[in-house]
């Protein structure tokens, strides 16, 4: 097999596995801070019980994020040595800042956040929760700066084929960064909202109907209902930004072959790259022109304009529809749930089961979204600067294949273990602690 393809599959598998966990922890850190602050303000144990359950979810997700992240830090070099050779002067400092300002911070205060509740004053514990949330968000910031720069590079010049920074401000605030960062942070918020709602709904259905479960359930549903319209808006803005800077990607997303006006919105089709047309298309007339140009006659660039230079159409096209479809499902169930909570103060069984079914909907939407944007950047690794093939390593295919098989096996085991342990924790969640009754919570500084 082609070593470049293997290297891509390996890196793609690893980064896909990795993103599942930061997507949860970035937002869950802030949710935990919110819950902790509510507890501080109300002194209501239900909040603290909700915290105790969710902090376990956080710890588990964080560990999986850390180990897969370490693997990634090595794979940057082993799979894409050309990347660092050509754009290392830009990527290097951004990665270094991520390690320095985020990794140590979150790793160190995580210890205090998890195990320090009885060792430090309450405000220090709250502060540790804040610093962990802040650290995960800083980490997201730096890595999304780098990723955005790879999509829309700015603030550099090429000397002998090697990128040299000329303006760090322009590098950091490159054209797609604000949209991508907002889109990803909201994706994290939604993933976390539906995870909390799903696990809590499951606890509720099993008869574990304590106030802490009710609090978490309401929090998850409400958070989802509030964030999803914002996400749809930001996603639209991100799409318009992409149209400006990476029109070929948008053409693949829309399945639009010819540059023309009155482009329909393709709801579903089978893109046929050989014949360069869509088969079995179901379309809304003028839809794409309206969305992208806010004008039914608006001219939208098509794939044929970028022949040989555009991404593979089918994966981008399908992944985009999966992401949007998932977003619509999220909108439907979170608004329905909020309506019931508002009018009746409780959720009917069907909605509860719907939430359970949607526990990991955020993962699906996030992965689909990343496939749209990353596959949509091909054949480039850094748009206009470096192609993926140029960055590949000389490691023999057999070696990449062997390690790929190993990684896939371990990721499959870990994913199954993770999901089953989450539900196991949810099952145990309501049971009183097996250990001797917890010591009274200390709200005053000790010693």
């Amino acid at each position: 097999m082609d070593p470049i393809l293997l290297a891509r599959i390996q890196f793609g598998a690893n980064i896909s596995f990795h993103i599942l966990f930061p997507t949860i922890t970035i937002a869950l850190g802030w949710v935990l801070l919110f819950i902790k602050l509510r507890f501080n303000a109300t002194k209501d144990d239900a909040w603290m019980n909700a915290y105790r359950f969710l902090v376990k979810v956080f710890a588990l997700s964080f560990a999986l994020g850390v180990v897969s992240g370490i693997t990634m830090s090595f794979q940057f070099g082993t799979n894409w040595p050309g990347f660092m050779e050509r754009v290392g002067n830009i990527a290097g400092p951004l990665l270094a800042y991520e390690v320095l300002t985020a990794f140590f911070l979150e790793a160190t205060f995580l210890g205090i956040m998890l195990f320090g509740f009885r060792r430090v004053p309450n405000w220090v514990h709250t502060m540790a929760t804040f610093l962990v949330a802040f650290g995960t968000t800083m980490s997201a910031f730096w890595i999304l700066v780098l990723n955005s720069w790879m999509h829309t590079p700015a603030g550099f010049e090429l000397r002998d084929g090697v990128a040299h920074a000329t303006d760090w401000w322009a590098i950091i605030f490159n054209p797609s960064m604000p949209y991508r960062l907002a889109h990803m942070l909201l994706a994290s918020g939604l993933t976390c909202a539906f995870l909390i709602a799903g696990l809590s709904a499951w606890r509720w259905l099993r008869g574990d109907q304590g106030r802490d479960v009710a609090i978490a359930l309401r929090l998850g549903v409400t958070l989802g209902a509030v964030l999803i319209p914002v996400q749809i808006l930001v996603g639209d803005l991100h799409g318009l930004n992409t149209l400006e800077h990476q029109p070929a990607k948008v053409a693949a997303m829309e399945g639009n072959w010819e540059t023309r006006g009155n482009v329909p919105l393709v709801l579903f089709a089978i893109p046929n790259e050989r014949e360069r047309r869509n088969d079995y298309a179901i379309e809304i007339p003028n839809g794409a022109s309206l969305i992208l140009k806010h004008d039914p006659a608006g001219v939208v660039p098509g794939l044929n304009e970028f022949k040989g230079q555009h991404p593979p159409v089918a994966p981008v096209f399908y992944a985009f529809r999966i992401m949007v479809g998932m977003g619509m499902a999220m909108l439907a169930i979170s608004w329905l749930g909020s309506f019931y909570l508002w009018r009746r103060g409780a959720l009917p069984k069907l909605v509860l089961w719907g939430l359970v079914a949607m526990t990991f909907s955020g993962w699906i939407a996030t992965l689909a979204g990343w496939y749209v944007t990353e596959i949509g950047r091909q054949p480039w690794l850094v748009t206009g600067v470096l192609t993926t093939a140029q960055a590949a390593s000389a490691v023999p295919a057999a070696m990449i294949g062997t390690t790929l098989a190993m990684y896939l096996a371990i990721y499959a085991v870990l994913l199954v273990a993770y999901v089953s342990v989450l539900f196991h924790l949810a099952k145990k969640g309501g049971n009183p602690p097996a250990a001797p009754a917890p010591a009274p919570m200390r709200l005053q500084p000790a010693e």
């Binding site: 400092p93 390690v99 140590f104 371990i410």
Partner: protein, 333 residues
Amino acid sequence: MALITDNLPLIFAALMAVSILAYVILDGYDLGVGMLMAQGNRAERDRMISTIGPFWDANETWLVLGIGLLLVAFPAAHGLILTELYLPVALMLLGLTLRGVAFEFRVKAQTRYQGAWDWAFVGGSLLTALTQGYMLGRYIMGFQPGFWPEIFAIAAGFGLAASYAFVGSTWLLAKTEGPLQARAVGWAQATLLLTLVSMLAVSIATPLVSPRIFERWFSFPNIIGLLPIPIMTGAFFLALWVFLKRMPRADHSLDIVPFLGAMALFTLGFLGLAYSFYPYIVPERLTITAAASAPESLWIILLGAVFVLPFIAGYTAFSYYVFRGKARDLRYD
């Protein structure tokens, strides 16, 4: 300014060296405790984990910083080294992954799987230590192919695993008490001897492999100036041996001493290696200066590092202060 710019490669080599040394000591004790867990029952394993639970994640971050600095500051060396070590790196990552997730799964998973995760923890720690030692061995041998270099690298794997087990058992001496501490004394004594053998083996092999390194150590007057390194190392071994003979002590105020001694040993060994290989970053192939990336990017990182590292040192110290003394049960509430 010009002085710093001219010496940026050297400064970054030093930063990288400090990160790697910090990693080897800090994650070394985590991994050592992980391997020693094979010896304990469930209650002992819980207690052993509780000595490293709040720290392991930050400890492991030093590896990310070290490898990150290699990648960022010396991309050419990074490419060469990681291509040579592709398979052992993949195995090490497997080990680190198993060890890292087992921390969580061993207590959160369904009871019937917890034992298996304990073994994943032990196996992951052992695999990580062995592969890291193997990589060190390959590095010392200048990545030469052949039977004897392979044998040396494999032996180095066991040597580093033993050294990690040693620093791990001294960590247990500092953080536990009672019967577990008494067992840790035995582990520390045994692994101290193995560490001594490993360090001797490396010290003999390194100058034999490279005439250049032989020259650096044994030519006159270098040998006079360098003599303190082996002498101090020997003295620390002896002192540790004597001290361990008197442990466990009724008075716990000096329980940290063996760990400090282990730190000193690691530092001396590391200095010796650094001296042997300087100015090369890939032995006999690529020097620090030749491998360095563009100065303007290194400047940006240096500014960040100078500003942020004191904070990292500060809150790391705070964390060790919060979890000072003998380890207690790890509890979320």
